[in-house]
């Protein structure tokens, strides 16, 4: 019920932000995944009561679990298909990986902070996400053994998009990066790799806010 409410709130936010983000609703598979993944399982026990609030929360080690709205938007932007192979840089709590795993065939996730990565790996395993593989270490070079990927999601802060990751993205593939500080995602960047290998990006402000009074 709580989860249902949270997803409804997210859907209302997405609809409200449509003039700025460009999409009025979420894809059905994203909605299903958001309703299914138990966010409270990815939080420290004392914080579980806050799990279904539409807000980012601290998870220890100076890291945060993203706001459900942002998780939903990022997942939606990737336009995933069932058989897709997705790479995630920055496992964090594992919540985003679980949402992805509900939709696609396999998720490969790399976490730079060891204790966090270990906890997430165990958590995902115990929750039965057999299609998520977590690795500890450097995300810069991606996961060459299983590349290329249909989609890549980079939730760890980086000063630039690692060129090796772009290489590991399939032509026609999509990459999403949230930009901003902890607790404060300022905008989402969507990188699209064209079939000819060239890349374009889109910057999406996840809120219905136009900078001039009097609309667009």
């Amino acid at each position: 019920m709580l989860r249902q409410n949270m997803v409804e709130e997210v859907l209302a936010d997405v609809a409200a932000a449509a003039p700025c983000s460009g999409s009025a609703t979420l894809r059905p598979d994203v909605i299903v995944a958001m309703k299914k993944v138990e966010r409270h399982r990815f939080l420290p026990a004392w914080m579980a009561v806050l799990a279904y609030l539409n807000r980012p929360l601290p998870i220890g080690h100076g890291q945060t679990i993203s706001q459900p709205l942002i998780v939903a938007l990022m997942t939606d932007l990737l336009q995933l298909k069932e058989g897709d192979k997705v790479l995630e840089i920055g496992t964090g709590s594992g919540y985003q990986a679980a949402v992805l795993a509900e939709i696609v065939k396999s998720v490969y996730s790399i976490e730079i902070i060891e204790p966090l990565g270990k906890e997430a790996a165990e958590r995902l395993k115990s929750l039965g996400y057999g299609n998520v593989e977590v690795r500890l270490g450097d995300g810069y070079y991606g996961w060459p053994e299983t590349a290329p990927f249909d989609a890549i999601i980079v939730t760890a802060a980086a000063s630039h998009v690692p060129p090796p990751l772009l290489k590991q993205l399939k032509p026609g593939g999509r990459m999403v990066i949230p930009l901003g500080a902890h607790f404060m995602t300022q905008y989402l960047m969507l990188v699209e790799k064209q079939t000819d290998g060239s890349v374009t990006s889109r910057q999406i402000v996840p809120v219905s806010f136009v900078p001039l009074t009097g609309g667009h």
């Binding site: 601290p58 000063s159 630039h160 806010f209 001039l212 667009h216």
Partner: protein, 801 residues
């Protein structure tokens, strides 16, 4: 017990401790959280002072027989609470980043505020006691108090060059205990062994208190804490100075790869780097350089590389060189000569000495000259002409995007600053400024508006022909040329941007369909904004834009303030829907602090009214108004003049130290004068206010011209000139407070704690209010207001007796 004379030495020492502690706390909080908590500390300090006045009002009859013992106890409590309050404040899990998500954060903020108030309460209590007890000697007591405060504020800056901030806390604790010991001698307190105990304690603290207990624990959300979470990272060097705590981090397993906003088309990887953090923010990086240019190719893939594609082997001035990334970029592009300006000598030393091998002797390369100076000050005094002036990207993306800078002044990005930079360019030279991309656009458009203003003020007939702006996915670079861009240059700009998938945001003659091609936005916001700012409808656009992007000026140097109330209300309703990050929360926090300060002050002034026996000693309206007015006006003057001198003294720290110290010391001289004239108070106050009013107005008129004419002089000379300028003003400002106190001592001694409390509370509000008013009206208006308020005080004093 009869007490022969006031404890002059102890009061000076305690006053020095309190002021030094106040300055120290701004450093400690910068390391622990972020630097904009300075005004909160000033406010907490003043609140402590005000609260102590109230306590005196309520308790003075009980205290009177035990004056000496209470005085020494307050001094001891100050010594104890200075470290303890800070340690406890560190335990409060306050996270400003969560402020708008989590209502409990406000309570945590209040807890920090109240904790930080406590030491100041004790300090205020001890000083207020002496004022009350020795009312007739207020002039000399005030002189000692202020002399100590001046010495403390200046001394602590010197000490911060020598020992890390948490050790300064140990020193201050020992000094406060020493003051207690001296007080026992001065007040001839019994038993005599008490003095020995305090001396012993002071010595014990100084020698044996483990500094580790007082270590600053930075927020886990600070960049340094985040980095140190990564396996294989370790701190390999630490330096400290009042400018900031520098931490150099090596990451052996997962390299730093700092290339901010590198083109998505790039395939290069930065060479090995060390992370350089200042107060835990960053990183800037120190990049390995072995003399070969090829590994630096990534530096050509940043938006900031654009000017090098327009200029042939330029003479470059890098402002804010840090650990050298922009110098490397200039070297890579074969700049003929490079002058690099960096504020912090410690960072220069790291590159030149400690890591000279790793950095490939970057700062001693042929053609490279490095200058330890503040950027504006350097450019003002430099006689050189440059082909390119690069203003480096100094702050970190996270901080900039979290709205943490909203209140800080920056003289780097004002209209006058850009005018100065442009005046130092060779014919055809270019000024390049790079900022982080914010969406919806804020920094970039404000910078653009500032550049348009600068060109207009310089009398350039067509500013549109001299501006170019490009944007990547994370950075924006603005070029301002001191002649019109040529068609060849525009072709080169297009070529540069196309090759790197950077978008053209503006160039002279740009068509709308050329904007927004690679990094797609919902609207071509940057092009539309730039075009609107160059059109006759500029003001309408600035008014309609939901962020405050009016040009910053030297009088209102708040470049990072984007806050507008209307937009804030809209964003606040959208806070859960993703609006939170766009809400520049530092500004509402300032307003909240002001309200909190106001409420606390009102409570402190009104609380004693509820206690009936105090009704008898209630001050008259005139007395209340008088002490309220001089408290506000003093704070307004002090804060505004510190800002006015920042540019001249070329360094905010020197300005704070010099101006604060000069104000305090010469105000003390004024008090001393007032003490000598005690017979004819109100006439002297009127004269003082007239003189200070005339001086303030004169300074407002002549200081900018005078500073410009004298700015080339050596630092020491400029400091002397500053002191000479402030001295007469401060002497006048020192007269009203003790004159009022002495009047009360003669007529209504019991109301002195009231006067003390009201004055303290006025200062609590004044400190925050001055900042708020300056943001809206500018520092000049704050000075004018101060003069008016002093006039009001004068009028109040007439009806005093």
């Amino acid at each position: 017990m009869t007490v022969p004379r006031p404890p002059f030495i102890a009061i000076g020492l305690l006053s020095a401790c309190v002021l030094a502690y106040e300055v120290l706390l701004t450093r400690l909080f910068s390391i622990m959280l972020w630097h904009h908590f300075a005004y909160m500390i000033i406010s907490a300090a003043m609140l402590g002072y005000g609260a102590s006045g109230t306590a005196l009002t309520l308790l003075k009859e009980k205290i009177a027989p035990h004056f000496g013992r209470v005085y020494v106890t307050a001094a001891m409590a100050l010594a104890f609470l200075m470290p303890v309050a800070f340690m406890l404040a560190q335990q409060v899990p306050f996270n400003p980043l969560e402020l708008l998500w989590d209502k409990t954060q406000l309570a945590k903020l209040l807890a920090v505020y109240l904790l930080m108030m406590l030491p100041f309460f004790c300090g205020g209590l001890s000083i207020g006691l002496v004022f009350w007890y020795f009312g007739r000697e207020a002039g000399r007591v005030y002189a000692c108090d202020i002399l100590g405060a001046g010495a403390g504020s200046l001394g602590v800056i010197g000490v911060l060059f020598l020992v890390p901030p948490h050790m300064v806390l140990v020193i201050l604790t020992a000094l406060a205990l020493l003051a207690a010991a001296i007080a026992t001698i001065e007040l001839k307190l019994q038993p005599k062994w008490l003095m020995g105990v305090f001396f012993g304690l002071a010595l014990l603290v100084a020698v044996a208190l483990p500094g580790a207990w007082l270590q600053v624990h930075p927020s886990v959300y600070k960049d340094l804490s985040q980095t140190l979470n990564i396996t294989g990272t370790r701190v390999i060097e630490e330096r400290f100075s009042p400018l900031g705590q520098i931490t150099v981090v090596e990451s052996s397993r997962i390299p730093f790869r700092h290339a901010p906003g590198m083109s998505l088309n790039a395939t290069d990887e930065p060479p090995p780097q060390l992370g350089v953090f200042v107060d835990g923010d960053g990183p800037a990086v120190l990049t390995r350089f072995d003399g070969k240019l090829a590994p630096l190719a990534y530096l050509d893939q940043l938006t900031s590389a654009l000017p090098y594609h327009l200029l042939e082997r330029p003479h470059v001035l890098v402002l804010g060189a840090g650990a050298g990334s922009d110098v490397l970029q200039a070297l890579y592009h074969r700049a003929r000569e490079i002058d690099a300006v960096e504020l912090d000598r410690n960072i220069i030393d790291l590159v030149r000495q400690r890591f000279h091998d790793f950095a490939g002797d970057l700062y001693t390369q042929p053609g490279v000259q490095v200058h330890a100076a503040e950027a504006r000050g350097f450019v003002n005094t430099s006689q050189e002409r440059y082909d390119l002036i690069q203003v480096a990207l100094l702050d970190s993306f996270g901080i900039a995007s979290a709205g943490l800078y909203g209140l800080s002044e920056s003289y780097l990005y004002t209209v006058e600053a850009l005018q100065t930079y442009l005046s130092r360019l060779t014919p055809g030279g270019i000024l390049a400024v790079t900022r982080w991309l914010s969406l919806p656009p804020r920094d970039a458009l404000k910078l653009f508006a500032t550049a348009v203003s600068a060109l207009e003020r310089d009398g350039v007939p067509n500013p549109a022909a001299r501006l170019v702006m490009i944007r990547g996915w994370k950075t924006v670079t603005l070029l301002v040329k001191n002649s019109d861009f040529t068609p060849q240059e525009i072709a080169a700009i297009k070529q540069f941007s196309r090759a790197r998938s950077f978008d053209l945001a503006y160039y002279p003659g740009m068509r709308a369909d050329e904007a927004n091609r690679y990094n797609l936005l919902q609207q071509p916001y940057f092009f539309e904004g730039a075009t609107a700012l160059l059109s006759p409808q500029r003001q309408a656009f600035l008014d309609r834009y939901k962020f405050y992007i009016e040009p910053a000026t030297d009088d209102r140097p708040h470049f990072f303030r984007f806050f507008k109330w209307n937009a804030a209300a809209e964003l606040f309703t959208l806070r859960a829907q993703g609006g939170m990050p766009l809400l520049d929360w530092s500004y509402p926090l300032l307003v909240a602090t002001l309200l909190q300060a106001f409420a606390a002050s009102v409570l402190l002034i009104l609380a004693p009214l509820a206690v009936s026996r105090c009704r008898r000693t209630l001050p008259s309206a005139q007395v209340a108004l008088y002490f309220l007015a001089i408290g506000l006006a003093f704070m307004f003057m002090e804060i505004a003049f510190i800002q006015k001198f920042v540019l001249f003294l070329a360094h905010p720290l020197y300005a704070v130290a010099t101006v604060l110290c000069a104000f305090l010391v010469f105000a003390a001289a004024g008090s001393w004068l007032a003490g000598r004239w005690q017979e004819a108070g109100s006439r002297h106050v009127a004269l003082a206010v007239m003189v200070l009013g005339a001086l303030a107005l004169l300074y407002l008129a002549i200081l900018p011209g005078l500073f410009q004419a004298l700015i080339h002089l050596p630092d020491a000379t400029k400091i002397i000139i500053s002191v000479v300028l402030i001295a007469p003003l401060a002497v006048c400002m020192g007269i009203p407070f003790p004159t009022g106190m002495m009047r009360l001592a003669g007529t209504a001694q019991d109301t002195i704690p009231w006067a003390w409390a009201i004055n303290g509370c006025a200062s609590v509000v004044g400190a925050v209010l001055a900042t708020l008013l300056a943001i809206h009206l500018g520092f000049s208006v704050v000075i004018l207001l101060a003069v008016l308020i002093y006039g009001l005080a004068c009028a109040a004093l007439r009806g005093f007796a």
